[in-house]
C-alpha cells in the first residue's frame, strides 16, 4: 500500500494528509462542514476546544514559512494540542544528518503528528512511508508537488461565495511550473466537480503534459481569463528557478499581471484569490489585490479553521 493509499484508514477516516489525490468529494465537503464550525470572523473570539488535549504535534519545516507554520500552530493550540517547532536551520539536519535519521530521533519523542514542509517533492510521502505506524503526517508543502491544506482552504473560500462548483470556470495564473499550490488546486477543484479549469502561464512556466490532469492551458492571459468565475494568482517562485525562465524588466507583469483592466475580462463578480505572499506589481496590482472582488484576506482567515478541521479529523476521536 502506498502512502497515498494509506492516507485513509479502513473506515475511511483520515490517517495522514499528504495530497489531495486519494481523497474524494465527500471527505472534502466533510472538512468544509467541520471548518464552518471552527470559523470565526476577524475580531470575534476564536473557536477552540480541548479535542486534541494530550496530543503532541511537531512542525517540521525545512523551508522557511511564517504564515503556514503559524496557522498550523494556532490551529493545533486551539484544539488543545501541544506544539513544538523544529527549526531546521539549527537542527542536526543542517549538519548532515539525513532526513530519515532526523525523523527517527523525533519519533523517539512520542510525537502524534508531524506537519512537514520540505523543499523536495515527495518528501511527505517519504516520511509517511518510514514513520512508525500510528504517527500521522500532514504535508504542509513538498517541493513543487502538493500543498493540500492550501487547496482545501482556497476551495472552501470559493464554496462560501459560489457553492455550485459544477458551473464554475477557474483560472490559475502565473508560475504553474514551480507551484505545489497549483497542482493541489487542480486536483481539489476537479474533485469538487469544476468543469473548466484553466492554467495561464508563459510556455517556460507551464509544466509538460499538465493537460493530462484535465485542464486547459493558455499562454495568452486575456484569452485564458475570459469569463472566468475565479482567478487564482500565483507568485513567481524565483527561489525554485534554476535557470532562465523569464526576461527581466517587468515583462511578466505586462503579459500576465492582473490589472483592473484585465480583471474586466472575467465575470463581473469573479473572485480574485492568491495563496500569498503576494508581490504587488509583479503578478497583481494593488488596486485589484485590495479591491472589492479580492477575497485574499478571507483565504488567510480560512487557513486556521480548515487546518483545525484537518487536525481534528486525523487526531480527534469521534470525528468523521
Amino acid at each position: 500500500m502506498t502512502p497515498i493509499d494509506a492516507q485513509r484508514r479502513s473506515d475511511g477516516r483520515l490517517q495522514h494528509l499528504l495530497t489531495i489525490r486519494g481523497l474524494d468529494r465527500e471527505l472534502i465537503q466533510a472538512i468544509f462542514r467541520l471548518a464552518e464550525q471552527y470559523l470565526s470572523p476577524p475580531g470575534q473570539a476564536a473557536c477552540s476546544s480541548e479535542l486534541l488535549r494530550g496530543r503532541t504535534i511537531t512542525n517540521l519545516f525545512f523551508e522557511s514559512s511564517t504564515r503556514t507554520r503559524s496557522a498550523f500552530e494556532i490551529a493545533a493550540k486551539r484544539l488543545g494540542a501541544s506544539v513544538s517547532n523544529m527549526d531546521v536551520g539549527s537542527s542536526s539536519t543542517s549538519k548532515g544528518e539525513t532526513l530519515l535519521d532526523t525523523l527517527k530521533t523525533l519519533e523517539a519523542m512520542n510525537v502524534d503528528m508531524f506537519i512537514v514542509r520540505h523543499g523536495a517533492s515527495g518528501a511527505a510521502e517519504f516520511i509517511a512511508r518510514h514513520i512508525r505506524p500510528g504517527v500521522a503526517v500532514l504535508n504542509a508543502g513538498d517541493g513543487s508537488h502538493a500543498h493540500p491544506t492550501q487547496a482545501l482552504l482556497d476551495s472552501f473560500t470559493i464554496a462560501r461565495h459560489k457553492p455550485d462548483f459544477s458551473q464554475l470556470r477557474v483560472a490559475i495564473v502565473g508560475d504553474i511550473l514551480h507551484s505545489r499550490v497549483a497542482r493541489s488546486e487542480i486536483r481539489a477543484l476537479k474533485m469538487l466537480g469544476v468543469p473548466d479549469i484553466r492554467l495561464v502561464a508563459p510556455r517556460t512556466l507551464m509544466p509538460s503534459g499538465i493537460g493530462e490532469l484535465g485542464v486547459q492551458c493558455f499562454h495568452d492571459m486575456d484569452q485564458g481569463i475570459r469569463d472566468v468565475d475565479v482567478l487564482i494568482m500565483l507568485r513567481l517562485q524565483r527561489e525554485r528557478m534554476n535557470g532562465h525562465f523569464l526576461p527581466g524588466g517587468g515583462e511578466f507583469f505586462a503579459r500576465y499581471g492582473l490589472t483592473s483592466s484585465r480583471l474586466s475580462l472575467a465575470k463581473s463578480d469573479a473572485l480574485v484569490m492568491h495563496p500569498g505572499p503576494i508581490n504587488r506589481g509583479v503578478e497583481i496590482e494593488s488596486a485589484v489585490a485590495d479591491g472589492p472582488q479580492s477575497v485574499i484576506l478571507e483565504q488567510v482567515n480560512h487557513g486556521v479553521p480548515i487546518r483545525m478541521a484537518v487536525l481534528a479529523m486525523i487526531l480527534g476521536e469521534g470525528q468523521p
Binding site: T98, L99, L100, H118, A120, G122, E125, F126, G209, I210
Partner: protein, 420 residues
C-alpha cells in the same frame, strides 16, 4: 577436460543454431554430437538453455576504496554467476580510469576474482573534467578498449571535437552518453508524470540535441562512436538515419528503459530513479522496435551498485542508478516474451553485437534455467548493490552455471537437481 550436455537448448549465433541437441564441450569448443558418449561426463540439460555469456558495454564499478576492498572482485563474481562473460568498466570509477596506475590497480583486484572478464573504458578527458584531452595513447597501451566520459558531463563541442579527432587517429572507439549538460538538470522524464509529481524533468531534447551534435562530430572526425543508453524514440530515428548514411556509430539501451516507463515513478519509488530516466510509453515502444530491427545494437544492464543510503530520501535527493546484474536475465526473458524476440535475438543483443564492437570472442557460455522462479532478496542476490528495483519480487529465470573450455560449473541448486 570435456563434458556433455544432453538435450540442451543450444543457442549459437555463429551457426544460427537454436534448438535442442546433445552437445560436447571440450577445450576446443562446442560441437553437436549424434549420441552421448558414455565415457565422457554427461549432464541432463533438458531443462536448460545454453547461450553465449553476456557482454556488457557499461558497468559502473563499485568504489574501490571501501573497507572490504574486494568489492570489484565481488561484483565480477556476481556478474559471472549472473551469466556475464565480460563487462566493460566505466571510467568514472574510484580511482578514475585515466592513468596506467589506476588501470593496474583495478586489474589487480579483478585478476583473482574468478568472475566475469573485465575490460576498461579509459577517461576521454583528464579527470573527466571535460576540458583537456586524456593521454589516450597511454590508456590504449595500458589495455583500454575504448574511451568514455561515464556519467560525467559531455565536453563542450570544441573540446569534444578534438577528443574525437585524436581518438580516431588511435582507432579508439568513444562511448558517449548523449546528454546535453545544460538541458539535463532533472531527475525524471519531462512529461505529465514528472509534472504531476512536481519533479524537475529532463526533456527529450536533452538527448536528441546531444545525439545531433555528436553525429555532426562523427562526420567531421570519422571517429567511431558508441551511444550509451539511448532513452527516447527520436534518438532511434536519428541513429537509424546515421547508420543508413554509413557513419561508424552504434548504440545500446538499458534493459530498464525497455521494460519500464515513467509510470514506474508514480509513487516516488526512488529505486526507479535512473539516468537516463524512464521515459514515456511511446519512447519505450520505440526503443523496443529499435532493438528488434537492429538500429540499437545491444542491451546493457547499466549496472550501478549503490549502498542502501543512496536511495533513502525524497526522490530527487537520491542517487540515480540500479543494481542490475541479478535482474538482467529475468528482465531479458520478460522482454523476449513481451516483444516476441527469439533466443538468437537475445544472444545478439546481450552478447553478439557488444562482443563484435570489442572484437572479443566468447570464452564462456551461460547455462540458463529459464523456468526457475526465485525471490530477489538479499539472500539470493549476488551483487552487493542495495538498489535493485525488483528487490523482494518473485522473478523467473536464473543462471544455472557456465561452460568454459570444456569445464562446466553448476550452481549448487542445479548440482542437486541434476545429480551432479
Amino acid at each position: 577436460m570435456s563434458v556433455q550436455l544432453s538435450g540442451v537448448h543450444w543457442v549459437d549465433p555463429a551457426s544460427g543454431h537454436d534448438d535442442r541437441c546433445d552437445l560436447l564441450a571440450t577445450t576446443q569448443g562446442l560441437q553437436q554430437v549424434e549420441r552421448i558418449d558414455p565415457k565422457i561426463a554427461c549432464v541432463d540439460a533438458r531443462s536448460l538453455t545454453l547461450i553465449p555469456g553476456f557482454v556488457d558495454l557499461g558497468c559502473s564499478l563499485p568504489q574501490a576504496d571501501l573497507p572490504h576492498g574486494d568489492s570489484i572482485a565481488v561484483e565480477l563474481r556476481a556478474a559471472r554467476q549472473n551469466g556475464f562473460d565480460l563487462v566493460c568498466g566505466a571510467p568514472d570509477a574510484q580511482p578514475l580510469i585515466d592513468s596506467a596506475a589506476a588501470i593496474e590497480w583495478i586489474e589487480r583486484r579483478a585478476a583473482g576474482a574468478d568472475g566475469a572478464r573485465l575490460r576498461l573504458l579509459g577517461a576521454l578527458t583528464q579527470g573527466l573534467n571535460g576540458t583537456a584531452l586524456s593521454n589516450m595513447a597511454a590508456l590504449k597501451a595500458s589495455g583500454c578498449v575504448g574511451l568514455a566520459q561515464g556519467r560525467a558531463a559531455l565536453p563542450a563541442a570544441d573540446t569534444l571535437r578534438q577528443c574525437l579527432r585524436y581518438a580516431a587517429d588511435l582507432a579508439l572507439r568513444v562511448h558517449l552518453r548523449p546528454q546535453w549538460p545544460s538541458l539535463s538538470a532533472g531527475c525524471a522524464h519531462d512529461g505529465a508524470q514528472a509534472s504531476a509529481l512536481g519533479l524537475a524533468g529532463v526533456p527529450v531534447v536533452a538527448e536528441t540535441a546531444a545525439v545531433a551534435m555528436i553525429l555532426c562530430l562523427v562526420r567531421d572526425s570519422g571517429c567511431a562512436v558508441h551511444f550509451e543508453r539511448l532513452s527516447c524514440a527520436a534518438s532511434t530515428t536519428m541513429l537509424a538515419a546515421a547508420k543508413q548514411e554509413g557513419l561508424p556509430v552504434s548504440a545500446d539501451v538499458s534493459i530498464w528503459n525497455l521494460l519500464f516507463d515513467d509510470a514506474a515513478i508514480a509513487g516516488y519509488d526512488s529505486q526507479f530513479h535512473l539516468n537516463p530516466p524512464l521515459r514515456s510509453g511511446n519512447d519505450r515502444q520505440a526503443l523496443c522496435a529499435a532493438v528488434r530491427n537492429g538500429v540499437i545494437d545491444a542491451i546493457s544492464a547499466d549496472h550501478r551498485p549503490l549502498g542502501a543510503d543512496a536511495k533513502l530520501g525524497p526522490f530527487a535527493e537520491t542517487q540515480a542508478g540500479a543494481s542490475s546484474l541479478d535482474a538482467y536475465l529475468p528482465l531479458l526473458l520478460q522482454l523476449m516474451q513481451r516483444e516476441s524476440l527469439s533466443w538468437l535475438d537475445i544472444a545478439r543483443l546481450s552478447h553478439g553485437a557488444a562482443a563484435s564492437l570489442l572484437a572479443e570472442v566468447p570464452q564462456r557460455w551461460s547455462l540458463i534455467d529459464p523456468a526457475m522462479v526465485w525471490t530477489a532478496d538479499t539472500e539470493h542476490c549476488l551483487s552487493q548493490g542495495q538498489n535493485n528495483p525488483l528487490r523482494s519480487q518473485s522473478l523467473r529465470g536464473r543462471v544455472a552455471g557456465d561452460l568454459s573450455g570444456g569445464e562446466l560449473r553448476l550452481g549448487r541448486h542445479w548440482q542437486h537437481l541434476l545429480g551432479v
